[in-house]
């Protein structure tokens, strides 16, 4: 069972909109302050990746309820250039944008589950889930 709400990422302001949406959903589901910050930050990282590398994409927030376990899933999808070496981008410190290189591995550490699907030319699909403790 899941309920979804989405934000389309086209410009920088949409990053703010996406993380506000995420924070509200997280609050609503009963996540604590620290988890709210984790979720908001993860959304911000993923939305920024879309904005920087793909130009356009979507962030969708799912409310999950699986067998009594409540959770929140962030789905980040874009039709951008894709990632040729997933292992490389999941390494700490790897960055093509001159940022801190904390992006994807950081998101993985902030969330409980992290799945990435991507191939060059086909865009990128990332799903990151946090369960309510």
């Amino acid at each position: 069972m899941s309920i979804q709400s989405c934000v389309t990422i086209i410009n920088e302001w949409d990053i703010v909109a996406a993380r506000q949406l995420g924070r509200n959903v997280a609050k609503e589901l009963g996540f604590g302050i620290v988890d709210q910050a984790r979720i908001t930050t993860a959304i911000s990282e993923l939305a920024r990746n879309i904005f920087l590398y793909a130009g356009k994409g979507q962030i969708c927030i799912d409310k999950l309820n699986e067998g009594g376990k409540v959770g929140l899933a962030i789905n980040a999808t874009d039709n951008g250039p894709g990632i040729s070496d997933i292992r490389q981008v999941m390494e700490d410190g790897f960055s093509t944008s001159g940022g801190l290189g904390a992006g994807l591995p950081g998101v993985k550490r902030l969330m409980d589950q992290f799945d990435i699907e991507s191939s060059p030319g086909d865009g990128t699909k990332i799903k990151a889930t946090k369960w309510l403790r």
């Binding site: 920088e12 302001w13 990053i15 703010v16 993380r19 506000q20 924070r23 302050i33 620290v34 709210q36 910050a37 984790r38 908001t40 930050t41 911000s44 990282e45 920024r48 700490d92 940022g99 801190l100 904390a102 992006g103 591995p105 950081g106 550490r109 902030l110």
Partner: protein, 118 residues
């Protein structure tokens, strides 16, 4: 919206009160450096008490502005980082090494005076 930068004796005081978007953060970077140049201040306290999340971009802007200020001979103390923010930063792998921190504005100013006095 711009972030107000106040001057207090030889220090600059910045309190960030709302969620930073990318433009505001970059604007702030520029404004602060100009203000340092203009006033000849030798210390800056940036208070983040009201900020409830920092992502890698904002962390980078902050880290950069601190390094830039240091280059201009100015010490910067960050105060009031919330526990939740500290945890997410550490989990993201951002340590903000070599950054001076203090619990709140008051202790931040004390620390700054100590650093400048020595």
């Amino acid at each position: 919206m711009r972030i107000p930068i106040l001057k207090l004796y030889n220090c600059l005081l910045v309190s960030i009160q709302w969620e930073l978007d990318d433009q505001t953060a970059l604007q702030f970077q520029e404004d602060l450096l100009h203000k340092i140049h203009e006033t000849g201040a030798n210390g800056v306290v940036i208070d983040l008490t009201s900020i409830d999340f920092i992502d890698s971009f904002i962390a980078k802007v902050l880290g950069d502005v601190i390094n830039m200020s240091n280059l201009m001979g100015v010490k910067v103390v960050i105060t009031g980082i919330q526990p939740a923010v500290a945890i997410t930063l550490i989990e993201l792998g951002i340590g903000l090494d070599n950054v001076l921190t203090a619990l709140d504005l008051e202790k931040g100013l004390e620390k700054l005076q100590q650093e400048l006095g020595e």
